[in-house]
């Protein structure tokens, strides 16, 4: 394997790792937002039920 191939493979690996990190962060944000959405909606429905 030549130096060029090694460098090319390394760059591809870097891009792959960077993309994987960003995807993991996106999943974490989505899961956090889901928790917030479920929590706030439950509270709002509780308030609405109490006021009725």
């Amino acid at each position: 394997m030549s130096n060029n191939d090694l460098n090319n493979n390394k760059t591809k690996k870097d891009i792959f790792l960077s993309n994987r990190r960003k995807k993991s962060q996106a999943i974490a944000i989505i899961l956090f937002l889901l928790v917030v959405i479920f929590f706030v909606t439950t509270i709002l429905q509780l308030i609405s039920n109490i006021s009725q």
Partner: protein, 302 residues
């Protein structure tokens, strides 16, 4: 080791964001026009679920159609044919967000809206994409229903029972879809031919398609005027809606009369672009009329 380069952006593109923005807008109008008012946060969650459901059906469409997307200039840069995402990743993603949007809508909003959202995803992914698209030239006539359901889902998500108003909102989009897509199909007919998709211009020619576009434009215009006659909107909606519809019919007639290929493509492009603006403005008019009646008392002009 083989490295694939799927990024967050690719997963976003897979959801057809431009289609999603139309779905968000039309479902918002359905939700606002409903007689039952819900908390803005709940409304936001409803629209979010509808948007993700629409995105999910877009993902499943791109997963199934990746073989023909590779053949067409218009779709060759989509994430799967471009090699950024593999088919299995797309299928898994589509299934997860389909199920997620339907279940979350059911738990947090209500199950009737959730059921219709699930049906819409099924209709677009299975009935349209897998069944009709490659078999009949009426594919987008029937398949257009999938794009017309969001205002009804928005309406149902408030807990209001089904009524004539959301059905009219449905029919406006349903009747708008054929002239919109056939105008595009005339411009991109060579692409569709390469992919062997039986779009109307490829199967029966441009003349027949242009005639159908005129017929549908007229019927669609009648459906746009209908809300006034059932008391859903005021004259504030009616007059601009008539003007917009007359322009729509004039552009479709210009297309009908154009004979050489250059002019046909020019008028088709014009109709395609105008149809997007038309639907947007008609739905904006529904909102203006609603807010006018609700907050300004709805002074009767006649």
């Amino acid at each position: 080791m083989e490295y694939t380069s799927s990024s967050v952006r690719d997963f976003y593109d897979l959801m057809k964001p431009r289609v999603m923005s139309l779905v968000i807008f039309t479902s918002f109008v359905g939700l606002v026009l409903s007689p039952v008012k819900i908390h803005p946060f709940i409304a936001l969650i409803s629209i979010l679920c509808i948007a993700i459901g629409a995105g999910a059906s877009g993902v499943l469409n791109m997963w199934y159609d990746s073989d023909i997307d590779r053949l067409m200039k218009r779709t060759i840069n989509r994430p799967i044919p471009a090699g950024n995402i593999n088919k299995n990743e797309a299928l898994t993603y589509g299934m997860v967000i389909s199920a997620g949007s339907v279940v979350i809508m059911g738990i947090l909003i209500n199950w009737s809206a959730s059921f219709l959202l699930a049906f819409t995803i099924f209709f677009y992914a299975v009935i349209y994409t897998m069944w009709l698209k490659r078999r009949t030239m009426q594919n987008i006539v029937i398949g257009g229903a999938a794009g017309a359901f969001p205002p009804i889902i928005g309406w149902l998500s408030t807990g209001a029972p089904i009524a004539i108003e959301p059905i009219i909102l449905f029919f406006i989009i349903f009747l708008w879809t054929p002239p919109h897509f056939w105008a595009l199909a005339i411009v991109t007919s060579s692409d569709y031919e390469k992919a062997s998709i039986p779009m109307m211009p490829n199967v029966v020619g441009n003349d027949y398609t242009k005639r159908q576009i005129v017929y549908y434009s007229i019927v669609m215009s009648i459906s746009v005027i209908a809300p006034y006659y059932i008391g859903m909107v005021s004259i504030l909606f009616l007059i601009p809606a008539i003007i917009l519809s007359v322009v729509f019919i004039i552009i479709s007639l210009q297309l009908y009369k154009s004979s050489d290929e250059q002019k046909q493509k020019k008028h088709s492009k014009r109709l395609f672009l105008y149809s997007i603006l038309y639907l947007f403005l008609i739905y904006i008019l529904f909102l203006i009329d609603y807010f006018y009646k609700s907050y300004l008392g709805g002074v009767n002009f006649l």
